[in-house]
């Protein structure tokens, strides 16, 4: 009886391992086949020598960094202030941070483009709109990460202690609160980083250079280079999640809805 259960348990785990690794294995093997008859890293060399790759990849890096900066500057003071001074705003703020789950990314970008592509609101071509939209997309994860961080420290006592020593709000926020919740922020930041680096829909429809749209074009035109990109992209996701697991001891957050 017991052993039969164990056989089934192994069966499902092996099936899961196969499902998880076979596509990755296939992609990796495929990425090595760019030279006829031998295995080589030629496709990776091709990718790294493509100026369009460098441009789209650095663009994505830029979007991701700006998103994290805007997110931290906006969400840390907000979450801090809600906890300390206006607990009444809590329900409204939390509700808003969850809206991106309900509005799929394609619907969201549809709304953005239709709203901001007519004068006087003609800002659809501004890179600022893309960064703002990414900040919204990352909000459910980033805000929650910050809020969880604040929950684990005694915000009020820290603030009062700092105030009694003569610290202003800026000092309190960026020299007291921020360092105390850096692990939580790091968690959220890496998740935001992974989301933005792999994001396709917003960059595509707001017509900005980014990694995923570049890869989508390459899938249509080339055989082996997209495989190399997929491997890189997977390694990137893996690195981000690995870091999150390391610093946050695996409070496994997953992306829902939009990004797929």
């Amino acid at each position: 009886m017991k052993s039969r259960g164990k056989v089934w348990a192994w069966f499902f785990i092996i099936l899961g391992v196969l499902y998880f690794f076979l596509p990755l294995l296939a992609t990796f093997i495929f990425s090595l086949k760019a030279k006829l008859g031998v295995l080589s890293f030629q496709s990776y060399i091709n990718v790294f020598n493509d100026p369009k790759f460098i441009r789209s990849f650095t663009a994505s890096l830029l979007w991701a960094s700006l998103t994290i900066i805007v997110g931290i500057v906006l969400f840390v003071p907000t979450a801090f202030w809600v906890r300390l001074k206006v607990p009444k705003a809590r329900t409204a703020v939390e509700f808003i941070t969850l809206i991106p789950f309900v509005v799929p990314a394609i619907v969201y970008v549809f709304g953005l483009v239709r709203t901001y592509s007519h004068p006087p609101l003609l800002i659809v071509n501004s890179p600022l709109l893309l960064v703002s939209a990414y900040t919204i997309l990352a909000m459910p994860y980033l805000y929650r990460a910050v809020d969880i961080g604040l929950r684990s420290i005694d915000v009020r006592t820290l603030t009062e202690a700092a105030q009694s020593l003569g610290a202003g709000w800026f000092t309190i926020l960026f020299r007291i609160i921020l360092p105390n919740i850096r692990v939580a922020i790091l968690n959220g930041a890496f998740l935001a980083f992974a989301i933005v680096m792999g994001e396709y829909i917003l960059a595509q429809y707001l017509a900005k250079p980014a990694f995923a749209p570049y890869m989508a074009v390459l899938i249509q035109n080339r055989a082996y280079e997209p495989a190399a990109l997929a491997v890189l992209s997977f390694a990137l996701t893996w690195a981000c999640m690995g870091i999150i697991t390391l610093v946050g001891r695996g409070s496994g957050q997953a992306q829902v809805g939009g990004g797929h």
Partner: protein
């Protein structure tokens, strides 16, 4: 000293204004545009229900919703079933501890690994020249001669499963942890068979959580766009794909109907998330 009865405006609210302003500009206002324009005549701007009604009249749109619902239903049920069996095996199958830890880590990665690279990974595996198809051909079996293609409905379902079942594992794991071993021992002591334990104890406790997570997976697949677009180049008419083409080139011929189409998605997603939240709260009673 008596305070004035009139509720005093608190200056503290100013501190959260940047957040409200930002989310209004970049989330609430663009989203509300979709709602408002769904009920407006795109020519005259007057209130109308025609856009909503048009959704139900067009076979093209009904077909798109139907395919989206079908793929979400199949991959949420399939993902939930397989994800649960996998999580239960790893947590309660007397497995070495590293299996459980690595499973949860892998699932964290896999549920975030989607879109364009995921589509390509399955092309490398299951396209006519893919690795697995190549292996099958060695054994004289080519699925492409038996009606399988990666680029249509069932192929896409298989790809969606890659981000569906890991999400199930991540969310259901705490619920499985919440099943106390004492309950199984107690029911065994009272003479219950394993089937009886599942039917009368474990299953009723897990049911709200299973249902809630399945609904969440439904929404997860329903909102997906990038994976399908990259895999099929827009050949499968999911609602998200139709919205994408409408945004590129007004394929519906009427802007109002485009808004209504988007609104329909939001309504279905909202129902899914609400259902998940309610059921998840019911589960939490048992997970103390």
């Amino acid at each position: 000293m008596a305070r004035p009865a009139r509720p005093k405006f608190s200056w503290a609210w100013l501190g959260v204004m940047p957040f409200f302003l930002f989310t209004f500009l970049f989330l609430l206002y663009p989203s509300s545009t979709i709602v408002i324009r769904s009920f407006q005549d795109s020519e005259t701007g007057k209130f109308t229900l025609q856009n909503i009604l048009a959704l139900f009249k067009s076979p093209y749109i009904i077909g798109a919703y139907w395919i989206s619902i079908k793929i979400s239903l199949i991959t949420s049920l399939g993902g939930a079933l397989f994800g649960f069996l996998l999580a239960y095996s790893a947590i309660r199958g007397n497995m070495p501890r590293f299996i459980r830890v690595s499973l949860l880590t892998f699932c964290g990665v896999a549920s975030n690994f989607a879109g364009v690279p995921l589509a390509f990974a399955f092309i490398a595996l299951l396209s006519p020249t893919g690795l697995l198809i190549g292996w099958m051909k060695l054994f004289g079996f080519n699925p492409y001669f038996h009606g399988f293609t990666l680029y249509t409905f069932w192929g896409l379902s298989l790809v969606y499963m890659y981000f569906q079942f890991p999400l199930m594992v991540l969310i259901i794991a705490p619920a499985i942890d919440g099943l106390r071993r004492e309950w199984q021992e107690a029911s065994e002591n009272l003479g219950a068979s394993s089937t009886q334990y599942w039917r009368h104890v474990a299953f009723p406790i897990l049911l709200p959580s299973l249902m809630g997570t399945t609904i969440l997976l439904f929404g997860n697949a329903f909102g997906a766009f990038a994976t399908a677009q990259a895999l099929t180049g827009g050949q499968i008419n999911l609602v998200t794909i139709v919205i994408g083409s409408e945004l590129r080139g007004d394929v519906l011929g009427n802007q109002g109907v485009g808004y209504a189409l988007a609104l329909g998605m939001v309504v279905i997603m909202a129902l899914a998330i609400a259902g998940y939240t309610i059921l998840q709260r019911r589960t939490e009673r048992w997970l103390r």
